[in-house]
Each structure stands twice: as C-alpha cells, then as structure tokens.
C-alpha cells in the first residue's frame, strides 16, 4: 500500500466516523427498536379521573390518535410482538388489523366528555 492510498484510507475512515457520530442520536436511529403505544390499556383506566386539560393526558391522546390512524394499537404486555406481527403481515392482514384496531383514543375522548 503506497503513501497516497494510506492517506486516502485514513481520511475516508475519519470522514465515516464523523458522519456516523453526528447521526448517532437522531430520533430515527431509535425507530428500529421502537415500541407501539399500548393504547388498549387506556380503555381500562378510570375515565372519570381523566383530566383532558392535563398535558400528560393530552400527550397520551395525541399518541394514541396517531397510532389509531396507523392501525398500530398494541395489546397489553405484547407490544413488540404485535408490532413485529404487523410488519410481517400481508397487505390484507394489515388492512384487517387497521379495521380491527379499536379507535381507543377516540372512544376514550368521547367517554370523558360524557362524564
């Protein structure tokens, strides 16, 4: 290996390391390990005690509304497997899941407003 090749290799490796480190903590880097929100568990909560003005409740509703829209409502304690199953499903399965996934967030909002 001549000197020019060595220098080019060193520069290339350095550039690669810098680019990798700058992206290491992008949120998208965490998506491969992402869990679906367990919104089905919300239905089991005491809706009379829910305060829709509480930022925590607002954040939960926002999260579950987004999941409902994507048909990604996980079941309690099995979020990873459910997500993996959805990813591996055929188009028709995915469509079925979307329809079967109860719009939990919307139902909870409606119930809380009734109270």
């Amino acid at each position: 290996m001549n000197l020019v090749t060595k220098i080019a290799t060193a520069l290339g490796a350095t550039t690669l390391l810098i680019s990798l480190s700058s992206n290491a903590h992008e949120a998208s880097e965490h998506m491969k390990d992402a869990q679906s929100p367990d919104c089905a568990a919300m239905a089991e909560m005491d809706h009379e005690k829910m305060d829709m003005n509480d930022p925590v409740m607002a954040a939960m509703m926002k999260q579950c509304m987004a999941s409902d829209a994507h048909g990604e409502v996980a079941t309690t304690g099995d979020a990873h497997q459910e997500h993996a199953h959805e990813a591996a499903s055929t188009d028709s399965d995915a469509e079925h899941n979307h329809e079967a996934a109860a719009p939990v967030a919307a139902a909870v909002v409606e119930e809380v407003h009734q109270h």
Binding site: A27, A34, Q35, P37, D38, P55, M60, A79
Partner: protein, 177 residues
Amino acid sequence: MRTGIFIALAFVATGVFIFSGLYPMGADTPHFRVTTWALEILRERSIARASSEIKAPTDLDSADRLLSGGADYNDMCAGCHLSPGVESSDLSMGLYPAPPNLTNHAHVELDSSVTLARSFWIIKHGVKMSGMPAWGRGHDDERIWNMVAFLERLPDLNPVQYQILTARAPMQSEETH
C-alpha cells in the same frame, strides 16, 4: 520556613499515595465519608453556579414536549434512572455514585426554576466521573428541554402512562423523515 517544609512534605506524600496504587478504585468500594461530602459539595456548587443564568422555556407543559422527551428518556436514561414500576437495573445497582431514581419525588429538593435549570445543565453537560454523559454533544437545546419537561412529570406517571408516552409512535417517525 516550617510551613514551607510542611507543604512540601504534604505534596510529596500526596504524590507517593497517587503513584502507589493503594487507592481502591473499584466502584463497589465506597468513598470515605469526607470524600463523598467534599465531592458532593463540589458538584452541587459547581452546577448551581454554572446553571444560574439558564432560563427555562415557558411551554414545558406541552404534549409535544412530553412525547419527544419521553421517547428520548426511555431510550437514553431509563436504564440508569429507572421507570415507573421498575425498582432497579444492573446499571442502577452497579454505578457509583448510584444514579438517582428519577421516578421518585424525593429527588426534587429545590424550587422549580432552579430544578429545571439544574436538570437542563446536567443533561447537556453531564457530570464528571459519575457515568452521566454530556448529551449536549449530540442533542440540541430544544431536545434537552423536552427531556426536562418529561422529567417534571415522570414521578406522577404510572406504568401504563409511561409506556404510552415513551413509545416512539408513528407520529414521531413521520417527524424525523
């Protein structure tokens, strides 16, 4: 003259001790009480001074901040600082000094504005020799404030709320693309 000799001897003795290898460096051997006291004073006074000018945003109680900060907390902090329903982890048991359990109200001892600034500074800059990284090297200030916002509500969360808030849902996936 005597004082000079005493100071010189103290320096020599300190040097001999440092190079002797006698100091127990294992994380499973606690400091002497006086060492712990001195290091804690050093840490708290340093952080208080360095964070004194930091002003928290006024919208920390927004749903978007909780969702962004929650997902980051779960990915980067929960292993050491725990989550609702989790009493300990290998990291929380093994690190020395032990990382504070942030799901516990007991860690909040200061008034709110001081606590917010302190949390922000610690997340951004880390703490030497404690295992706490400086997250500011890979995360901008807004993202760190989101984590601070989440920390403020963390002690109030139950495991169900925590799971929903910290999941990296499709909404966040879309925001990153």
